[in-house]
């Protein structure tokens, strides 16, 4: 998997370059000028209960990178999980990853 990610990583660099060229700032690194408030409107809670069955927000539009990674992930995990109870640990982090960083993943 690591090799696959290495191959894929240049797409992230490309995306960054495109972002710089088009002036995109999704993380709001630049302080918005002349703004009296930094609050953003939160989308209303879904009125359709079906929205709660989705792993994504109703208004979400996954980027190309996200879609590529999800496709890879599906290929990687093709086998069925509907099986007997698996009692192996489900911890996803290795001890080498600092808590402060893991908590954001």
């Amino acid at each position: 998997m690591k090799i696959l990610l290495l191959i894929l990583y240049p797409l992230f660099i490309l995306s960054r370059l495109l972002g710089i060229l088009t002036g995109k700032d999704p993380l709001k690194h630049k302080r918005p000028a002349d703004q009296s408030s930094y609050w953003q409107e939160h989308p209303p809670s879904p009125s359709n209960p079906e929205a709660y069955f989705s792993e994504d927000l109703p208004e979400a539009k996954p980027s190309l990178l996200v879609r590529v990674l999800i496709a890879i992930s599906k290929l990687w995990n093709r086998k069925s999980y509907r099986a007997k109870r698996d009692n192996s640990p489900t911890s996803t982090a290795s001890d080498e990853i600092p808590d402060e960083i893991y908590t954001m993943w």
């Binding site: 409107e41 640990p89 960083i101």
Partner: protein
């Protein structure tokens, strides 16, 4: 037939499960209590098993399983962050993405496996801050309330404001990652040499030893705070988006040194840094509260999210307004998200009405974990060859215990159901006489094996709190989430002047009040009010202690040592009792004295401590 909804939080920190039966909270527990691994983030298998056992059902009988955040939205945030920083962040990318591709993008399968394939329904996913908001509003005693949630980060939101009425909550405004009050506080936790996710309490406890001399530096460079409480952070001072640390070299240059090494000596500088970030945190909390009050017009405020565990900030909101009533979810961290997710399903998905019960919240005092019967305890004690005395009823037990407390003994108190949330509230607590001058030192160094600067909290009879603390007469603090100053009338005359001439930890040597064991160096205390309705036995103990001593206050700290999750079972309690200098252990209706126990039951202290990684 009853409807069962299981809520789950997992894979970040403080995994937990919560179970609703027809909307009633049947059980809730954190996984760490069972696995004995602090902040365990693995799937909460043991907590789920416990919740189902408490309800007497199997996974096949669960109607809905709700997960407390939207994994794909979180993944989108992660990918966008890496794409914004590339090629910086490569190391982080190579570690984080495989975890997602293998596990986190397959949560339904992971949960299926963990539930043994017995749950046949679909999974529901609620938004992270919506889960926090639900955990704050739905169990609260209010028909309607303004909602404030603040934490590190969920999917994109780090702070949100909303409103709840009857069976609906609506989030109205948000601040998005990477601008985060929780992460700002965590950055200072990291920089002052403490462990993120558990050291924030230490920073808060350290703050009163310092002066906020870095406050202006923080607001001039790190964070721009608007009058309405919204904020923007200059990310060039931080490294958490792209690196494996919280702060950047630029941050270190601004404050003049690299981060303090963990376990090295704490200097006045760290105390001043703690005081400074604490002041900034309070400033944001108060401004947010004020803005929320204006925009909702509500007189009630409910709060959740990790920052809502900042009880100093909570205390200021309670005292300085503008809300008349404040209620804070006791499991405000991610664990509480499990409860919130389940409650969203009940109210938003199933459209079930919400019933508010006579000004009482529906958390049952947060005693939502496992309890153990006297038979279980007798069996364990016999197996350990422990020496103990049993009592026929609470009255006799309390009569025997009060004189032991009066003699400044440290008492392990294990009774009833375990608490849900990070605080020990009288179910799994270590108790002592708050009037003792030596107890803070003894408890920190010989019982908890933790830093000497850390304060202890008082439990006080409800109705007496305003006699001792600057707390409104109608306000309760059952979950130990409000810090309030000790009243002037109970302070030691001259203590203020003596303290003014001292620096740092030297302040600890001054007797500060009539209850010195729980009075912090700034005369504050993290108050817990004890209510007969939710904890009758603990209430009886305090009442008896008050009758005998005229003091309605006991020291209450969590039943564990540093790095250890709070004890869950009687075995955990006995091991902790024997591994420390605790004098007395109460297990339901039995009392054990350390001096009576077989010497061979005393473990090697270093071995005992080494089981738990320092937090």
């Amino acid at each position: 037939m009853a409807t069962y909804i299981l809520g789950i939080s997992a894979f970040y920190h403080d995994s937990a499960a919560a179970l609703l039966r027809d909307g009633e909270i049947i059980a809730a527990a954190q996984e760490e209590r069972f696995t004995r691994k602090k902040h365990d983030h693995s799937f909460p298998r043991n907590a789920v098993d416990y919740c189902l056992a408490e309800a007497g059902i199997s996974p096949v009988e669960i109607d809905y399983v709700a997960f407390y955040d939207k994994p794909l939205t979180k993944f989108d945030r992660l990918v966008q962050t890496y794409a914004t920083y590339a090629p910086k962040g490569f190391q982080s990318f190579m570690q984080a993405i495989p975890i997602w591709l293998r596990t986190k993008l397959h949560l339904p399968s992971v949960m299926d496996r963990a539930l043994g394939g017995q749950y046949k329904g679909r999974y529901l996913f609620t938004e992270h801050h919506e889960s926090h908001a639900a955990s704050a509003f739905f169990p609260s005693p209010f028909e309607e309330a303004a909602i404030m949630t603040l934490d590190g980060v969920g999917e994109w939101s780090t702070t949100s404001l909303g409103h709840g009425k009857n069976n609906r909550i609506n989030l109205l405004q948000e601040i998005r990652f990477p601008h985060s009050l929780g992460l700002l506080y965590s950055a200072f936790t990291y920089y002052t040499g403490f462990r993120v996710n558990s050291g924030e309490y230490k920073v808060m406890g350290l703050a009163p030893y310092g002066k906020p001399r870095f406050r202006d530096l923080i607001v001039d460079h790190l964070i721009d705070i608007k009058e309405d409480g919204s904020f923007w952070m200059d990310m060039s001072y931080f490294n958490y988006c792209q690196g494996m640390t919280m702060t950047s070299d630029k941050f270190h240059r601004l404050f003049g040194s690299p981060p303090r090494r963990s376990e090295s000596e704490i200097s006045q500088r760290e105390m001043d840094l703690a005081a400074s970030v604490q002041v900034v945190c309070e400033e944001v909390m108060l401004k947010c509260a004020s803005h929320l009050h204006k925009s909702t017009g509500s007189k009630n405020l409910v709060m959740a999210g990790g920052v809502a565990l900042n009880c100093v900030g909570n205390g200021r909101i309670l005292r300085e307004g503008p809300f008349e009533n404040v209620w804070i979810q006791p499991a405000s961290g991610d664990a509480g998200g499990a409860l919130g997710a389940a409650q969203i399903v009940h109210h938003h998905v199933l459209s079930e009405p919400r019933v508010v019960q006579n000004e009482a919240d529906s958390m049952s005092g947060s005693y939502l974990g496992p309890a153990f019967g006297q038979e279980d305890i007798d069996e364990i004690l016999k197996r350990e060859n422990a020496v103990y005395q049993s009592f026929a009823n609470d009255e006799e037990l309390v009569d025997a215990l009060v004189p032991l407390l009066e003699k400044e003994n440290v008492v392990g108190w294990f009774q009833g159901r375990m608490e849900f949330g990070p605080r020990a509230l009288g179910g799994r607590s270590i108790l002592g006489d708050a009037r003792s001058e030596k107890l803070q030192k003894v408890m920190n160094l010989k019982i908890k094996f933790r830093e000497s600067f850390r304060p202890f909290a008082p439990s006080i009879l409800a109705g007496k709190a305003h006699d001792y603390f600057e707390i409104p007469e109608n306000a309760d603090s059952p979950y130990m989430l409000i810090v309030a100053p000790v009243l002037e009338s109970h302070r030691e005359p001259g203590a203020t002047n003596t303290m003014a001439g001292l620096e740092g930890l030297n302040k600890l040597n001054v007797k500060r009040s009539v209850v010195p064991a729980i009075t912090h160096v700034d005369f504050s205390a993290r108050v817990q009010t004890i209510h007969e309705e939710t904890n009758p036995r603990y209430h009886r103990l305090l009442t008896k202690f008050y009758d005998k001593t005229a003091s309605p206050v006991l020291v209450n700290t969590s039943f564990n040592i540093r790095g250890e999750p709070i004890v869950c079972t009687p075995e955990d309690a006995y091991r902790c009792f024997m591994g420390t200098d605790m004098d007395v252990l109460v297990l339901e209706n039995t009392i054990l004295l350390k001096s009576d126990q077989p010497k061979e039951n005393i473990p090697d202290r270093k071995d005992y401590q080494s089981q738990f990684a320092l937090d």
